[in-house]
């Protein structure tokens, strides 16, 4: 008698649990796996990227999920350490058994994952890696950074060199950190400069662990360049900009490939030292870039970012981190399943409307049409974060179709 009651109770409990867990979604979750720079040098952008990706996941789940299934993330902190990446992706695919993978943030952290991804033939949406796929030639790699096909590292600095040539620059100094991204950026600048017939008067690299950049700026100044192209990461960006400001670097065009000049906290801290610098960017709150959905997304991001110790404005990586999942999600829905080959083919053959505008991929997974902005800092005041919320402080100079203002030339005029 008691055993019958017990079995009945167990059965009822099991049925109840099954019903309760299936209440919102009838099926298993879709699991997306990735590593992300949540600590270490690139975490200043990695953490905001994660927040943006979580907003996408929550938006999608609120609307009923992907193919009616809830989206779940499985992610690990790669600590901005390339050596961590292969192990993480092996685990994600072989042990955690995720359905889809996307990349970490940054060239140095995307490249190490490629061999594993290629062996497993998975679609690989990538977040801001410069020229990672040129050597691999993998046909399921898609890069959301709009550096553009066919040669992203050349496209990256093309706008900067074009501005130089248009304004009569004849000599250029190239300097960058001794790391994958900077080398790619400077290599591209070198190719562009040579093609444009500029004379390269300084061409050196420094270790990322350099404390004081004063000797480097001085060595550059000694060559009297008309333009200075720098490929740097956040701490060296700050070091170079400060040293240039302190020594009064006398040149006509300065900037190019400085990562970190897009981060809100660094912009606020460097303040007026940024004035005149012409640097790359991918989205700024200028009227020419007001894509549908981006302001709404940024409002959500800024709300979540408060009190998290991360970039409060989220203009750099977050819109693209949201967009690349939009592309992946749209492809999964269109294909109707998790078939890596079909998803890759769909992404290759279609255009997507995202918060960063219309996205279409071309050769080797790069954007079919490049959209690397060259932005000049103008009239920036010291220690004011809010000035960057609106247009006018980061004016788009190139490409011409996205231009939102006039260049102040030479650099010394704008300071």
């Amino acid at each position: 008698m008691i055993s019958i009651v017990r079995s009945a109770a167990a059965l009822a409990a099991a049925l109840y649990l099954a019903a309760a867990s299936g209440a919102a979604f009838a099926q298993e979750p879709i699991r997306i796996g990735f590593s992300m720079a949540l600590t270490g040098g690139l975490a200043g952008a990695g953490k905001p990227a994660l927040i943006a990706m979580q907003i996408w996941r929550d938006d999608v789940n609120e609307a009923g999920g992907l193919l009616g299934r809830p989206v779940e993330f499985v992610y690990y902190d790669d600590q901005t350490n390339p050596a961590e990446v292969p192990g993480i992706y092996s685990k994600l695919i072989d042990v955690d058994g995720v359905d889809l993978v996307v990349s970490s943030y940054g060239t140095n952290l995307i490249a190490p994952a490629m061999p594993i991804i290629m062996r497993k033939q998975m679609v690989f949406m990538s977040l801001f890696g410069l020229d990672v796929n040129t050597q691999f030639g993998y046909d399921r790699y898609f890069q959301i950074m709009p550096a553009g096909a066919p040669d992203p590292k050349v496209n990256w600095s093309r706008g900067f060199i074009d501005i130089a040539v248009e304004n009569g620059v004849r000599t250029i100094a190239l300097v960058g950190a001794d790391a994958e991204f900077s080398r790619n950026a400077v290599a591209g600048a070198r190719a562009n400069a040579e093609a444009a017939g500029l004379e390269i008067v300084y061409d050196e690299s420094y270790k990322g662990t350099t404390t004081d950049f004063t000797p480097i700026i001085r060595a550059i100044q000694a060559t009297s360049p008309d333009a200075v192209f720098v490929g740097s990461y956040p701490p060296d960006t700050v070091g170079m900009v400060r040293a240039a400001s302190e020594l009064g670097l006398d040149t006509e065009l300065f900037g190019g490939g400085m990562v970190g000049a897009q981060y809100a906290t660094i912009q606020q801290s460097l303040g007026s030292m940024l004035n005149g610098i012409v640097n790359y960017d991918f989205w700024v709150p200028e009227p020419t870039l007001d894509f549908p959905g981006v302001e709404e997304f940024l409002a959500k991001y800024q709300e979540r970012a408060e009190g998290q110790g991360v970039d409060p404005l989220g203009h750099y990586l977050p819109p693209y981190a949201y967009a690349y999942l939009q592309v992946l999600g749209a492809a999964v829905e269109a294909v109707g399943g998790i078939d890596q080959e079909k998803i890759a083919a769909h992404i290759r053959d279609n255009t997507f409307e995202t918060v960063v505008g219309t996205v279409a991929f071309g050769e080797k997974g790069e954007w079919a049409t490049p959209r690397v902005l060259q932005v000049q800092f103008q009239n920036v005041a010291d220690n004011d974060l809010d000035q960057f919320r609106t247009a006018g402080k980061r004016v788009v100079i190139k490409p011409d179709e996205w231009r939102s203002g006039d260049l102040i030339f030479p650099y010394t005029e704008a300071r």
């Binding site: 420094y206 270790k207 000797p215 001085r218 302190e246 906290t265």
Partner: protein, 291 residues
């Protein structure tokens, strides 16, 4: 192309940088050079000092160096406590070499993660009136962002040196490294002396940290960059010698600066460590170490 102006500026930049390196290394010179405590967590304490400077600079607008001096006593106490734990767990039982090292590795990671949890992973900078300013003496540039830390670093190192050579406790610290038994016979408790010394070493980290964040942006894991350099300076200078540490720091700073200016910055580290290797080959006890 070597001009007199470029050369002079390279040397001056190197001296300013070297002064800062000395501030970071002097604490390790006491802990490792004199007490034989392999405090690999020292750069993490420096970074903690940087964050203390950031926190109070951000909240109250206090000058970062002032903050460094104000929190130094707290760091002293923390150092004393850490030494006590280290002594009870490892030194007393003679296991300090390997397990003690692991202990400090652990402290290093805990400090780093604690900072990440409290402040996040973003780079932090401080506001001070002298950041961005530049003095020009003839053709030589003296960026205040480097000059002010240099002056503070030199003062601190000199003060430590005077303390160690002129006061009873200071001399007891030097003695405890040389001959513990003799020190006990002189009426000083070696454990208390070492605790005092280690506390002092960590207190210097507070001030060095405030200098670090004036020079450049700081995030919690940045200490790792300095581990190699700081140990190299202490070893090059000669274990236990404060003046040796200062000279070694200058040598390293000037070498880095000269190489960056004339040969290409990617060689800076190689040259610095090359100097260390050559010196140790010729004079194994370091520049000012006792034979």
């Amino acid at each position: 192309m070597i001009t007199a102006e470029l050369f002079a500026n390279a040397v001056v930049s190197g001296v300013l940088l070297g002064g800062f390196y000395a501030a970071v290394a002097v604490g390790l010179s006491i802990a490792f050079g004199q007490l034989d405590i392999v405090n690999i967590a020292h750069p993490s304490f420096v970074v903690a000092g940087s964050f203390a400077a950031f926190a109070l600079n951000d909240a109250l607008g206090l000058d970062p160096i002032l903050v460094g001096v104000l929190v130094a006593p707290l760091f002293f106490l923390a150092g004393a406590v850490i030494y006590r734990v280290y002594f009870q767990s490892f030194e007393r039982t003679g296991q300090e070499s390997l397990r003690g090292l692991v202990f400090f590795f652990g402290i290093m990671f805990i400090a780093e993660v604690a900072l990440i949890l409290s402040y996040g992973v973003d780079y932090r900078l401080v506001e001070a009136s002298y950041i961005g300013g530049n003095w020009k003496i003839g053709a030589v540039d003296l960026p205040l962002r480097m000059l002010v830390p240099f002056v503070v670093a030199l003062s601190m190192t000199t003060a430590i040196w005077l303390y160690l050579s002129r006061t009873f406790t200071g001399r007891a610290i030097q003695a405890v490294a040389q001959d513990r038994l003799a020190l006990q016979l002189m009426g000083a408790d070696p454990i208390r002396i070492k605790q005092h010394a280690f506390g002092l070493a960590v207190a210097t980290a507070a001030i060095a940290g405030s200098l670090l964040i004036i020079i450049g942006p700081v995030e919690p894991s940045i200490g790792r960059i300095y581990i190699g350099k700081v140990f190299a300076i202490v070893v090059l200078g000669g274990m236990g010698s404060i003046s040796g540490t200062l000279i070694a720091a200058f040598i390293l700073g000037i070498a880095e600066s000269m190489v960056a200016t004339f040969a290409g910055p990617s060689w800076s580290n190689a040259v610095a460590f090359g100097i260390l290797l050559v010196t140790l080959a010729v004079r194994p006890q370091g520049l000012m170490g006792r034979t």
